[in-house]
């Protein structure tokens, strides 16, 4: 897999590689230091252009990489950390995975920067905002480009910090403290796991640099040794925190308190996929611990389902998207758990397209509605916001898995792998997929269809967003439409571009456990059936959503006419729908609410708040010990001396 020496040590290339993270950092410095003096246009220009150039360099690197036979290489800069036997270079690893992540992070990052220039144009703190955003890009690029776990951790902490800063960006009008605190504590738990994983890797392999660790790991024999389970579980705990998996997921919906572009960039498209990236990067280690993979698969499936059920009843448009993000991340982990690393990456990529699109679309809506996020106050916006509507529709189709949009291919491939592995998990996945289609279309219908339910005077203010905001939407919509062709399934006779591209990453892993990478166990007929099932449930969900949110809302006649065939077909079964409603939908809704209450509010929040309260309580108790009286201090200290001596001499 990765070569330890760089095949073409070339000064220009080294500089180019360095420029990719450095440019956003420069942007951060410029905007951070000069945000008072720069005009808003200049701030936006600096913010966007640095990321754009990084994106262009990434493309160049990618082409160059392809042209030179796709040979992975590392770029060493200097001896970063050197303490005793621990030597860590400041170096980048350029391989298939890095380049893919680079393109995704910088590409989507650029679009979101561009969009932010429009979205935040009325905000006073735009300079601060862009500097944080650029800092985030810098950290994220460090995370994906670093050639060792410590660099990944540095980036990991950096993105966490930016996320923390940006959640609180509008601290004035949100429940900032709780959201930030929750995000903070949960991410800390994750970071703790990650850090311990790194330490364990260091103990086990004597190094933290990927090439060395993986080369060492591939020499290990025997699956499921305790130390490998330990390492991978720790790493996975880290991934759980960052990628919002059960039980560390509730911070993500709360993080929606930040500006919408932040939600799009950090809490949907890039940062939250860092956990997936980490697992794929460490695939060699995870292959060695099948038990961990089982746990990952189960947790992923459970998260996908749980988040989807909660998503059913959300009324805040961003919360819906947030829960759908959690749910989609669950899918990705499910795929990782069944060792379908490439499929997971495929879904990461597609998800980045359509989720960024959906968030930006939601942002556009919120922008038009003057910061109203409640879908119950929206409705009928498709006339006022045509571009937003079309692109949002494409995004919704994509996430629901309707062919030929991006989500169909990735989700289908992913589910096929899961099916091969475990039928129950597949069932869970399909169920979650059904719910996804339902709540996404519910959101779509509530927002863009029906009558406008907001205040009257707002109706006149509705306006399409400026071009600087709609262009990213359109680009993302195109990507969400055609992106899926990167990974057309075998049954259609095409090559799986992405799968072939990523294949070299698994050289070591394949040599350890060849069985895991054998494909084609599923016959073509079965594959078609699986596809049909997933499309079928999605369509069913859409139809139900249609009935619930359009039909019962007395939609105008001409809408009816256009959808007549479907409508007539279902109209006669209306009471079945009613039955369905009271027998299934209601209980499901009730259950989903209950789950939300129970898991989210009571268990997770309870634990998080409980820990916090415990810390504060013990702090208070300690305070009373600090009574200010010398006599008391000395008494306690003398007793401590007596205790120490007693324990040392008479116990053990």
């Amino acid at each position: 897999m990765q070569e330890i020496v760089m095949p073409r040590m070339n000064q220009d290339m080294a500089l180019l590689c360095l420029l990719i993270p450095l440019l956003p950092f420069i942007g951060f410095l410029l905007n951070g230091l000069g945000n008072r003096k720069f005009s808003k246009g200049l701030v936006g220009f600096i913010g966007c252009s640095t990321v754009l150039v990084s994106f262009l360099i990434s493309i160049y690197l990618f082409l160059d990489f392809k042209a030179n036979g796709s040979q992975a290489y590392t770029v060493d800069y200097y001896n970063w950390i050197s303490a005793g036997s621990l030597r860590i270079g400041f170096s980048f690893l350029i391989d298939q995975l890095t380049l893919l992540m680079l393109l995704m992070v910088t590409g989507i990052g650029f679009l979101i920067h561009l969009y932010s220039a429009g979205y935040m144009s009325h905000d006073e703190g735009i300079g601060k905002f862009f500097s944080f955003l650029n800092l985030f890009m810098f950290s994220m690029l460090l995370l994906v480009m670093g050639s060792n776990y410590v660099m990944m951790f540095v980036g990991w902490e950096g993105v966490g910090l930016c996320s923390y800063l940006l959640i609180g960006f509008w601290n004035k009008n949100t429940n900032y403290n709780n959201a930030a605190k929750k995000a903070f504590i949960m991410n800390r738990i994750g970071d703790l796991g990650f850090l311990l994983g790194i330490f364990l890797i260091f103990i086990t392999f004597g190094s933290v640099s990927y090439p060395q660790v993986f080369a060492e790991a591939s020499k290990l024999t025997g699956l499921d040794t305790p130390v490998m389970i330990g390492i991978t579980m720790f790493l996975f705990i880290g991934a759980m925190g960052k990628s919002a998996q059960i039980p560390l997921f509730t911070w993500l919906p709360d993080a929606m308190a930040g500006p919408t572009p932040v939600s799009a960039l950090i809490h949907a498209a890039t940062m939250v996929t860092a956990g997936i990236y980490m697992v794929i990067r460490s695939n060699v280690l995870f292959i060695l611990a099948p038990t961990t993979l089982e746990v990952i698969a189960i947790i992923g499936a459970a998260t996908a389902l749980l988040a989807a059920t909660i998503g059913l009843v959300q009324n805040d448009i961003k919360k819906v998207l947030a829960y759908s993000t959690v749910s989609q991340l669950g899918y990705m982990f499910l795929a990782l758990g069944v060792m379908a690393f490439s499929s997971s990456m495929f879904h990461v990529l597609m998800h980045a397209f359509f989720k960024a699109l959906l968030f930006l679309g939601a942002g556009s809506v919120i922008h038009a509605m003057s910061n109203e996020q409640d879908m119950r106050r929206m409705g009928g916006l498709r006339k006022a916001l045509p571009v937003t509507f079309i692109t949002f529709l494409i995004g919704t189709l994509a996430i629901s898995g309707i062919p030929p949009f991006a989500g169909f291919f990735s989700k289908d491939e992913l589910l096929a792998h899961v099916f091969e592995h475990n039928k129950i998990l597949w069932g869970v996945g399909v169920l979650a997929s059904f719910m996804t289609a339902f709540y996404m279309f519910r959101a779509l219908f509530l927002t863009f269809f029906g009558k406008f339910r907001g205040p009257e005077e707002q109706k006149h203010h509705l306006h399409e967003s400026p071009a600087v905001m709609t262009v990213p939407l359109i680009v993302l919509a195109i990507l969400s439409t055609i992106g899926g062709f990167l990974g057309i399934p075998e049954v259609f006779g095409a090559e799986h571009v992405l799968g072939d591209y990523l294949a070299p990453l698994y050289t070591y892993a394949r040599s350890i456990n060849p069985a895991a990478f054998e494909t084609g166990a599923v016959s073509h007929e079965l594959e078609f059936i699986l596809m049909a099932v997933s499309v079928g449930v999605a369509v069913l969900a859409i139809i139900i959503a249609y009935f619930m949110y359009i039909k019962k809302e007395e939609v105008p006649a001409e809408e009816n006419a256009r959808l007549a065939p479907v409508h007539n077909l279902l109209y006669q079964k209306y009471y079945i729908d009613e039955l369905y409603n009271s027998l299934i939908v209601r209980p499901v809704m009730w259950l989903s609410n209950a789950v939300h209450r129970l898991v989210d509010v009571i268990v997770v929040d309870g634990i998080v708040n409980g820990v916090g309260r415990m810390v504060i309580l013990s702090g208070r108790t300690l305070r009373y010990a600090q009574s200010g009286a010398i006599g008391f201090y000395l008494l306690v200290m003398v007793c401590s001396i007596a205790l120490i001596l007693f324990l040392n001499f008479f116990i053990g």
Binding site: G84, I203, Y633, M637, F649
Partner: protein, 461 residues
């Protein structure tokens, strides 16, 4: 050795210069002295030598820690400007005492004989008792001095009793002799030796404010004038930890089993008490006092690890901790002075708007103290933790420490939030001299530089 001689002479010169009417020359002069000492100290690098019948050895360990302590003093002295402005009568005495106390600190990192350790600790402590009470008419300062003094004297007794018992068991005050006797006897000479060792550990734990012998620290730190609190929590603590490590490595390495359980308990307790105690504080200075307790815990972790990485980790951690602490106390000093002596978090409200530089320096310092990457503090913690995990059985200690570091971020960021997110109650800009601003920038840049290229320092030892 040169540094000790120079510092003693410079201290006396400072006292004489204090007779002059104008006190303005004292600060530049003291800075110059310290710079000279810093430079002279570097000449001993890689030239390990033992002096005066093996009373002390100036090796790289001593040179490195001397360098850090002199540097820390050099960096915090410029923030004594307000003493100059108010024409404090005792300015010369302050500077001299700091220089003299550095002599004690250097003795503590280079001693080869228990007597040198004892005299070093005493020089440092007595100077600190005086400086703690240097704001003579403020009751809090009096109280701090008296508390520090009474408890310090008490633990001097404990420390001495330990030294005597060790002497009784081994017949010598020299570290090498003690180590030789202990090695022959399998690390445990007899019960008297063990008792002495434990009392010694307790005595030094008190000096570095490790729990449960930390009770003095919050009260004394809070009452002491801020400049000297800064000195106490940097130089005194670093000297204490360096002396502690030297003692354990040079004399009691073979007796590892005898002190390890006690020390690990002290370490964990220190981490927990320091961090949990800091959470509930509303007074920033008192929070820093607790945080300094917690940092003693991290430093002790490296000591507990007790392997070839410990000394380098302690060195790097000390430096990163000193830089950040100096900034924190310096900013606190300026803010509280100009906001009616308010030392609570609220005093920092809106500082981000009124004084971006102060706020930025403070933010970097807080990041460094809490161990956020790209600051020196991150690598400080990283090195300490990697030193500890060399022994996989100590993994749980790292778990505790990381959890506690997480708690740490919570209270360190409270001040950052106050600076940037809270509206300013008192919108007046904090005045700060240009030299002090320069120093703040310098320390901040240095902190970030160490966060980007820690190899500058981490591989010295």
């Amino acid at each position: 050795m040169t540094s000790i001689i120079l510092l003693s002479i410079f201290g006396i010169i400072n006292l004489f210069v204090g007779f002059m009417k104008s006190k303005r020359i004292l600060l530049p002069l003291s800075l110059l002295f310290l710079a000279v000492v810093f430079g002279a100290n570097l000449f001993s690098w890689n030239e390990a030598q033992s002096y005066f019948n093996h009373m002390l050895t100036i090796d790289n360990y001593a040179v490195a820690f001397t360098g850090i302590m002199v540097l820390a003093t050099l960096l915090l002295l410029p923030f004594s400007q307000h003493y100059i402005e108010e024409a404090n009568e005792n300015l010369a005495e302050f500077y001299s005492l700091l220089l003299f106390s550095l002599v004690g600190a250097i003795m503590m990192v280079s001693y080869e004989n228990m007597l040198m350790l004892f005299i070093g600790i005493e020089i440092l402590s007595i100077a600190m008792y005086v400086l703690a009470g240097s704001d003579k008419r403020r009751l809090r300062s009096n109280e701090a001095a008296l508390k520090y003094f009474l408890m310090g004297a008490f633990f001097t007794g404990v420390l001495l009793f330990g030294i005597v018992l060790i002497y009784g068991a081994t017949g010598s005050f020299y570290l090498t002799d003690i180590a030789a006797t202990a090695a022959v006897n399998d690390g445990t000479v007899n019960a008297m030796f063990t008792l002495g060792l434990l009392l010694l550990v307790i005595g030094i734990s008190f000096k570095i404010s490790a729990a449960p012998f930390h009770f003095w620290a919050p009260d004394v730190y809070e009452g002491t004038p801020t400049l000297f609190t800064s000195y106490m929590s940097t130089v005194v603590k670093i000297a204490g930890v360096a002396a502690f490590y030297k003692l354990m490595a040079a004399a009691f390495a073979a007796s590892y089993a005898a002190w390890f359980p006690t020390l690990i308990a002290i370490t964990v307790l220190t981490l927990v008490v320091g961090n949990i105690g800091a959470v509930v504080q509303t007074n920033f200075k008192r929070m820093l006092a607790y945080s300094s307790v917690s940092h003693a815990g991290y430093l002790l972790m490296a000591l507990v690890a007790f392997n070839e990485r410990s000394d380098a980790s302690i060195l790097f951690y000390s430096l990163s901790y000193a830089l950040a602490t100096i900034v924190a106390f310096a900013v606190l000093q300026y803010v509280s002075e100009q906001r009616n002596g308010d030392e609570t978090y609220a005093a920092f409200n809106g500082l981000g708007k009124t004084n971006p530089l102060l706020a930025f320096a403070m933010t970097v310092a807080m990041c460094s103290l809490s161990g956020i990457p790209l600051t020196a503090g991150f690598f400080g913690k990283l090195f300490v933790f990697t030193a500890v995990v060399q022994d996989a059985r100590l993994m749980w200690l790292v778990v505790v420490a990381v959890l506690m570091a997480a708690v740490g971020i919570y209270y360190y960021f409270k001040v950052v939030i106050a600076m940037y997110m809270q509206p300013a109650a008192d919108a007046a800009k904090i005045r700060i001299g240009s030299f002090a601003s320069f120093m703040l920038i310098f320390i901040t840049v240095f902190t970030i530089l160490l966060g980007i290229a820690p190899a500058l320092v981490s591989d010295l030892l």
